[in-house]
Subunit: 221 residues, 2 copies
DNA sequence: ATGTCAATAAATATCGATATTTTTGAAAGA
DNA sequence: TCTTTCAAAAATATCGATATTTATTGACAT
């Protein structure tokens, strides 16, 4: 078979490709919350077979981005204000914990990584939103990456992604980047590097809550 | 096709059946930690096609019971002391939170459910370990079921299952049921019904930590 | 109008076969 | 003896077709 696709070279596997594409489509709202995800339709969209699509959807179930109902298929996870606020609250609890643990066992390698990822994030602001989005997540995950608890980090990463989705949902409504997010990030970085757990945590949670309040206002139910 | 199987009536779906069977086999150690899970082999074991097996394994990934490595298949999640202690610590944090939230918004229906599930758990001790295992989980989840945070409850349920696995791993080594677990459960129940969050939480965490210490001792690495 | 039921349409779930990739193992070269 | 290489074997991943289940529609009775 001629394995030529417009994205350039060969992907890892059809399943992984489908997983990444579908994930992105759900996060960015191209597949609206609650929408029925028909295999046949997606099979066409991703031009691949039913098996990879099905498997990708099963994997997205882990991420709580897709719901699976036995014998009647898949749908994009619903979104509503209550769910958003639950995510925000959980995120604050878990990231606070992970950040404090990370600081408690701080070391040079971790601190250097923080500085590095922060630098890259700053640079990426000029390179388009998709790249900034990527770098932003990398920075935030780096903050938690020294907690010594991979599962906790996994939960945080999951919640981070779920939150992105709500950012996209509210993105259209009003002026988002009005706040000085850049200085908020610098606060967090500085406090973390100085091992000031209380200040770092306070800055981080403040960062989330501000965005949260903003998004909450822009949601109906 | 003649759809007659020894379990009695028709299952929901091959995928769901495979999911439940594999999950049970991993939790009880019939599929050892770290073991390579070959599709062909499982296909034989569950006598079903490759698609349901694959999909079941993908779903088990959500539960952190199976690891998936792109292009080189699946394996049962590894188990080791560090992982066990991580689970224990996370469980203590998250269940503490969920229990306190549940008590904070306590109501008659929730309390009655606690009493009921506790009663059933006590009764089930005579009915074999599998049924007790089931009832035990139901009781513990009922304690958290009023937290108002479905995701938090989901995380707790996940961690609960992961913990079961370590119980089975250590089960053979020594006398497990020597402790008076029954009275520990009664403590928790009583405190919860009386809305004494501090005492309920302390009893619950004590319950987990005792078992945890016990299991820890019986593990090598 | 409204609810029920059967026939039809649509979608999901599953199978069996094949293509693709990784692993294995043995021969050749250093 | 230890690598390295390459072909055979094994396992994974994927496709296309089919069986099974759920959803829809319209006739018919209430």
């Amino acid at each position: 078979m001629n394995m030529i696709d417009d994205t350039g070279s060969k992907e890892t596997s059809a399943t992984r490709g489908a997983y990444l594409t579908l994930r992105d489509m759900i996060l960015t709202g191209k597949l609206p919350a609650g929408e029925k995800l028909k295999i046949e339709q997606l099979r066409g969209l991703l031009n691949t077979g039913a098996s990879p699509v099905r498997e990708a959807l099963s994997l997205l179930t882990s991420d709580m981005l897709v719901e699976r109902i036995d014998q009647r298929g898949f749908r994009a996870a619903p979104a509503n204000k209550a769910n958003f606020e639950e995510i925000l609250a959980l995120r604050c609890t878990l990231e606070d914990l992970a950040l404090r643990q990370s600081i408690a066992s701080a070391n040079a390698a971790w601190e250097e990584r923080l500085v590095l990822t922060h630098h890259r994030m700053k640079k990426s602001t000029t390179l388009g939103t998709a790249l900034f989005e990527e770098a932003h997540k990398t920075f935030h995950m780096a903050l938690l990456a020294n907690s010594g608890s991979p599962m906790l980090e996994r939960f945080c990463a999951q919640l981070y992604d779920l939150n992105i989705r709500y950012r996209y949902l509210a993105a259209s409504s009003s002026t988002y980047q009005s706040r000085d997010i850049s200085s908020e990030h610098e606060d967090i970085l500085e406090a973390a590097v100085q091992h000031d757990a209380d200040r770092a945590s306070a800055s981080l949670l403040n960062h989330y809550r501000r965005t949260g309040d903003f998004l909450s206002r822009g949601m109906d139910a």
